[in-house]
Symmetry: C2
Subunit: 323 residues, 2 copies
């Protein structure tokens, strides 16, 4: 599937208007780190527990009546699944979600609870999720809603940046000069870059899954190694970004950063203690980079906490230091 167009700043503005018509802005919480305030965008408080509701809504509302009638297919370890399922239910569109068998149980359960049909694929066994999704689309004539390689999805995620800028303005801080965000396929980071042209944008990836970092360093799209180590950041497990994302990222992001599982856990614990938020591992990656001292903070730094969908046992182990 070739996307029909590149995402634009105007598209992000349109997405922000559509999102704000149905969802109140998520809070932007101050956090003092060594005497400096950074602004944490709590996207974990979206109704589906993650920012993906933005892209799902912007994409599905842009479908023709004919396309809506044939349904949509999403591919996701969970958060994009819930974003598409939430938007589909609200619009009366049938949604099928292709999810890995090893997705967190809470994400599988929540996707089904939103009324979507879940088709599992064998990620650990090496089954190709795009192949599975393509087969479902062909069978049903449904529209594939890609998790990041889609102009509407990118624009939708970018609406978070519009909210951040508005909220910092309203607080008298002024718009962000730096946004640090977790990065899987680069949908959110590309959207933020379009939303906030005056801010530096730093994507943060988990150790071993740093394809965007390496792509930015080399100037061409790189993939995750076939023998990549396991990561607790299930929501950031993407093999490679796509040209539609990379064309934005390479213009706006000189580099990306990598965080270790221990750094991610430390960030989850800090968010628990100081912000009283449940943040999933992937959702804490950007905060982890800040806490680890890997980011040169600017006076108006925003950090996106992208999601909070994590299993109770996993989160308990993070809190007690058992994993």
């Amino acid at each position: 599937m070739t996307p029909s167009r590149d995402p634009t700043a105007a598209g992000v503005a349109e997405a922000a208007a559509k999102v704000s018509a149905i969802l109140p802005p998520t809070p932007l919480l101050p956090l003092e780190i060594e005497g400096q305030t950074i602004w944490c965008k709590a996207e974990s408080l979206q109704p589906i527990g993650a920012f993906k509701i933005r892209g799902g809504w912007h994409r599905l509302t842009a479908l023709s009546d004919e396309d809506r009638a044939r349904g949509v297919v999403g591919v996701s370890s969970g958060n994009h699944a819930q974003g598409v399922a939430w938007a589909a239910r609200r619009l009366g569109i049938a949604a099928t979600i292709v999810m890995p068998v090893d997705a967190p149980a809470v994400k599988l359960a929540n996707t089904r609870a939103l009324g979507a049909e879940v088709v599992l694929y064998d990620r650990p066994g090496g089954e190709d999720r795009d192949e599975v999704a393509g087969r479902v689309c062909a069978e049903r004539g449904a529209t594939l809603v890609h998790a990041y390689g889609d102009p509407w999805v990118i624009e939708g995620q970018g609406s978070a940046g519009i909210e951040i800028a508005r909220q910092m303005d309203a607080l008298g801080v002024g718009g962000p000069d730096l946004i640090v965000a977790p990065c899987g396929g680069g949908g959110l980071t590309a959207g933020l870059a379009l939303a906030c042209p005056d801010a530096a944008v730093i994507p943060v990836e988990p150790e071993g899954w740093d394809d965007v970092c390496r792509s930015l360093a080399s100037g061409t799209i790189q993939s995750v190694a076939a023998d990549a180590p396991p990561t607790p950041c299930d929501s950031l497990q993407t093999m490679a970004t796509r040209p539609i994302n990379f064309r934005v990222l390479r213009e706006r992001c000189p580099f990306g950063l990598v965080v270790t599982p221990a750094e991610v856990r430390a960030a989850q614990r800090l968010a628990f203690e100081r912000l009283h938020l449940v943040i999933e591992p992937g959702g804490a990656a950007a905060l982890a980079a800040v806490l680890a001292g890997k980011v040169d903070l600017k006076p108006r730094t925003a950090v996106v906490l992208t999601g909070g969908n994590t299993d109770a046992a996993d989160f308990a182990a993070v809190l007690t230091g058992d994993n």
Copy 2:
């Protein structure tokens, strides 16, 4: 100390204006319970992790310059302590907080981090906290800021009700017809009753610490039994409400409800899973009553999640069912 006046609805409105000038409203999150939406006020997302910042701010800003110079004293297991300390630091007032030796470590640490001097008293050993506080006040000429038996504190806490009503109005839901709130000494519930004259207000207390429930039933102020069982709800451990609170409560609350430790844990787990919020035991009491089916829900029901200050090990045990 006899309070100088009763709290008023006009005082709540003034408090709401003062609070909204320095703190953005906390989110009001929808939660679907058996097909009905209830509105959860996430006071755990205040900068100190609890609603007590409201009363502290309204009380301390009302002090004369002379009184400010002599400092303030608070008595608290933690959340009121942080509320007073936060307001005092912002206003340049010296704060001394009398806290029980068995307060959650995170609350002790956070109170000290806010610059307050902490004086410990031996709660398990039966030492009287009011006596300790009176001694400190006498020594220093400081003003006692009572955790609930104070008109400004009551009005300040009531500002949460003004926010709830505004937020539900903005969502097109209409003002609340029922507010369910955790109850310790009755500062918050009295404030909510003044803030929202058209809503029923139900205070919820932990098992064994149901003095307000029994006071409402008998028509006179009752105390917690000397041999009351331990409760996980440290923030709701008050021996008795005060006349200034009870005069409001007996007019507006026909009854209160009691929740068990198991019901509280179930509510904490639901808030974790569905709202991605960290809620302390006492903060989850009202939600616990709703989940346990003890509340006759009305079409526009709001539930206050009062705080999120809980130790990591305790919260992990709640998540894994180990306590």
